[in-house]
């Protein structure tokens, strides 16, 4: 009996179990590798989290309506080459380049949403198609050649280090807080959750469903753009291939964090912890001299474990 009630409590605070896993991972790594707690390694970890978390939030917003965005990586890539091009070729000031980049990302997301709403085609199909479209535009413009001569201040920001703290993480923290407030306290945020929770009920309650779906995709595109721009600043170059490996982590973090694929409920805290866990695992494999390709393997196992745990928890609750 005590065993079940303990499990029950853990299950009820959605992200408590995950927090335990993260702490456990930190403790294990602290013992396994002395370098893990070094200032530089902490910096590397947080630098990774800054990008992974944004990618995860970009997917999370769309998961909230019960849909998915398979094109977010390609949106990131397209935004990167456009922003980089503006800086290198046309010498556009950084703030304006970034603004245009985010607008392009938002527009790409809006296009996804528009096609989904107007055609009634499943988001999976639409975004898999548009991801090819976005990548095509990207390669067409750049012929897959990166822009190297970005504005120096921009690069400096991306590569700066304040002790163990990467300044790019500030952007991620701001976006995360805004998204948390958006879902908790604003009408459009609540409407997105309502549509994800029960589309028909939302519709009969006067929620503008089409507009809400488009908004979720637009926000997803905007966040993907921010992720791309931050990664570009960090790398110091506008790589056309940026975003091509985002798909798995974009789903992994929200799912491990406890976001329902069916929509209607999100957990920002869970997603943050999951993004942290993914970064720790990636970091650990490097520190322990493991083959970095095992990251893929471990991410897969983690997703299965997270989903399995969720199923187990549901069974506990029902029995």
């Amino acid at each position: 009996m005590t065993k079940t009630s303990l499990l029950r409590t853990l299950v009820n605070i959605e992200w408590a179990g995950l927090l335990g896993v993260v702490i456990l991972a930190v403790v294990i790594m602290a013992f396994a590798s002395p370098a893990f707690l070094s200032t530089y390694n902490q910096y590397v970890l947080m630098r990774d989290v800054a990008i992974t978390l944004l990618v995860a939030l970009s997917q999370l917003v769309v998961l909230a309506i019960g849909q998915m965005n398979l094109s977010l990586g390609m949106i990131g890539g397209l935004v990167v080459v456009i922003t980089g091009g503006l800086m290198e070729v046309w010498h556009v000031p950084v703030p304006l380049s970034v603004l245009i980049g985010v607008i392009v990302g938002t527009a790409c997301g809006l296009l996804n949403g528009f096609i989904i709403v107007r055609s009634g085609i499943n988001s999976f199909i639409v975004t898999i198609a548009t991801s090819s479209v976005f990548l095509g535009i990207n390669y067409g413009m750049t012929e897959a050649v990166p822009f190297y001569n970005l504005t120096p201040e921009f690069k400096a920001f991306g590569q700066a280090r304040w002790g163990s703290f990467p300044p790019i993480l500030i952007v991620t923290i701001i976006v995360t807080i805004l998204i948390a407030i958006f879902f908790a306290r604003t009408i459009p945020g609540r409407q997105i959750l309502a549509v994800g929770g029960n589309l028909l009920a939302s519709q009969t309650s006067g929620v503008p469903v089409g507009r809400t779906v488009m908004m979720a995709h637009a926000i997803s595109g905007a966040i993907a753009a921010v992720a791309g721009i931050l990664l570009m600043a960090r790398l110091g170059q506008a790589q056309p291939t940026i975003g091509q490996n985002w798909l798995l982590p974009s789903f992994a973090a929200p799912i491990i964090g406890g976001v329902a694929l069916s929509g209607g409920s999100v957990t920002i805290m869970g997603t943050v912890l999951a993004a942290l866990l993914i970064a720790i695992i990636q970091d650990a494999l490097v520190l322990l001299n493991a083959d970095p390709y095992y990251v893929q393997f471990l991410l897969g196992v983690l997703i299965l474990a997270a989903v399995g745990f969720d199923r187990l928890a549901k069974r506990q609750r029902e029995a």
């Binding site: 306290r185 959750l193 309502a194 029960n198 009920a201 939302s202 009969t204 006067g206 503008p208």
Partner: protein
């Protein structure tokens, strides 16, 4: 007590506890071949738990289950089915995209080599459709059937296992009296063939019409066990169910403001099928809309709330022609609210809180700059309606899926009251809701009307309609075929309604 009698199914001394609840506390049930036993009780009385044990979904903590006198134990539903127990659940278990035939033989599909033998499928299915006297081709795709036909196909499927025990969980919840009559004929036929039938229902009229004996559960215990219905009057049955004598009082007369209709509909035609409908609705009035399933009542409602395109005729609200283009139009510009018949599918967001479900209609009204919602303002408004409708919930943040059916329905209503809808369309408010809560909901609806709310009430529950409505419109083929001034006399009015339907 005759010890020699071999019962078709017997449950003796069943106990089952869930965390915090003793769901079954020494419960007995006895079914005989060729007999229909009613199992009644309010929601939460333990009917579902008992059925789930009999069908192998739950395991009892204590107690014995006997089938034809032999002790049995099932660890899953498949075992129960194989042992001879068929169960028709309340929710549909058919695959919509498959044919009637495939659904009936599901799990035992005949094959030729690796291929499905469709000829054999249809032959087998046809046999059971014939037994039931059903005029449906086995090749019909299930999604094209009516709700009642689906129910009957479910029963054919249950029969096709050639089981001698048949459990039916509220089989008439979603079908009309007319269709129920046909279902009863089928069940009487099965009874003659020696099938033991357990009939779970909330509708006492049906229980008296169909069943031989009755078992009543209350708070997880037997209020009575296996008693003949012939010697049990209705008052006693109700008092067994709710633990006290309940007098169903007639609702008193209430004022209706007849000077100007709040809603007038002239020659309304809509994409959903509505074909030339006229009526007037006044403040303080409960206007009933009665008809069989498929008569077009919900479709009319959908047109009025902007969910189906209006293609002809006029809607006049408070003397002014109203254009309704969308649900949001209907609600925000004209104050029309729709309490859907299917609260789980169309009415509520089950995994969200009571507060979020009620306030969804008023977010726009209470939202500040940037769509900011002040938590205190929202909760204050929600609290007002939770109190007003007496919604039983531990907190405003409780998830709606954890509430009882009656309280869920109240949340569904509260949402529209919070939205300050001037016209409320209430579709089948008490489907699947127990008797006590049903009367509480009736009082609630009646009180709303008394306070001046205009209500269009859609219901297939004849006693409910005759108890609540001031006038009754009878619908058939998407048109109104009659209007009856209700005097609340059940015999007279029900006869008048049936006559209009002929």
């Amino acid at each position: 007590m005759e010890n020699s009698e071999v019962l078709a199914l017997e449950a003796v001394g069943m106990y089952k506890a869930f965390p915090g609840v003793q769901a079954l506390d020494n419960v007995d049930l006895r079914l005989r071949h060729g007999e229909i036993q009613a199992l009644i009780g309010e929601n939460g009385a333990g009917k579902s738990t008992l059925i789930k044990i009999i069908t192998g979904l739950y395991k009892q903590d204590q107690g014995i289950l006997r089938l034809d006198g032999r002790e049995v134990e099932f660890s899953n539903t498949h075992e129960a089915m194989k042992a001879g127990i068929s169960f028709v659940p309340q929710e549909r278990n058919l695959i919509p995209a498959f044919t009637v035939g495939e659904n009936i033989v599901m799990g035992r599909t005949p094959t030729k080599g690796v291929f499905v033998d469709y000829a054999a499928v249809n032959r087998e299915a046809q046999r059971w459709l014939d037994v039931m006297g059903l005029d449906i081709a086995p090749t019909t795709v299930v999604k094209n059937l009516s709700a009642a036909q689906m129910q009957l196909v479910e029963i054919a499927k249950a029969l096709s296992m050639e089981n001698k025990v048949l459990l039916l969980d509220e089989p008439t919840a979603s079908i009309t009296p007319h269709e129920a009559e046909f279902l009863f004929e089928v069940l009487r036929g099965l009874k003659k063939r020696g099938v033991a039938i357990l009939f779970v229902s909330h509708k006492l009229e049906e229980v008296y019409e169909l069943c031989d004996r009755v078992t009543v559960l209350r708070d997880g215990r037997n209020a009575c066990t296996d008693e003949p219905l012939a010697t049990m009057d209705r008052d006693r049955l109700v008092s067994l169910m709710i633990g006290r004598t309940q007098k169903v009082t007639e609702l008193p007369a209430k004022p209706i403001e007849r000077d100007e209709p709040i809603l007038e509909v002239r020659g309304l035609r809509a994409k959903s099928g509505t074909n030339g409908v006229d009526f007037k609705l006044y403040r303080g009035e409960i206007l009933g809309l009665y008809g069989l399933v498929g008569a077009g009542r919900s479709e009319l409602a959908r047109a009025l709330v902007g969910a189906s395109k209006i293609i002809g005729g006029e809607v006049i609200i408070q003397g002014k022609p109203a254009k309704i283009h969308s649900v949001s139009d209907a609600l925000n510009r004209h104050g029309i609210g729709y309490v859907s018949e299917d609260r789980k599918v169309e009415g509520l967001i089950l995994p969200h809180s009571v507060a979020a479900n009620i306030s969804i209609t008023i977010w726009r009204r209470i939202g500040g700059p940037f769509g900011w919602i002040w938590s205190r303002k929202e909760k204050g408004l929600v609290k007002e309606y939770v109190d007003k409708l007496d919604i039983k919930t531990p907190s405003l943040m409780q998830l709606v899926k954890n509430l009882s059916g009656g309280n869920q329905q109240k949340v569904s209503l509260a949402k529209w009251l919070a939205a300050q809808a001037r016209i409320l369309i209430i579709d089948e408010p008490t489907v699947g809701i127990d008797i006590k809560t049903k009367y509480a909901l009736h009082d609630l609806i009646w009180n709303l009307a008394k306070q001046g709310q205009a209500i269009l009430l859609i219901s297939s529950d004849m006693p409910e309609m005759i108890r609540l409505a001031d006038r009754i419109l009878v619908m058939k083929n998407h048109q109104i075929v009659g209007e009856i001034q209700n005097n609340h006399n059940y015999e007279q009015i029900s006869a008048a309604i049936m006559q209009k339907l002929m």
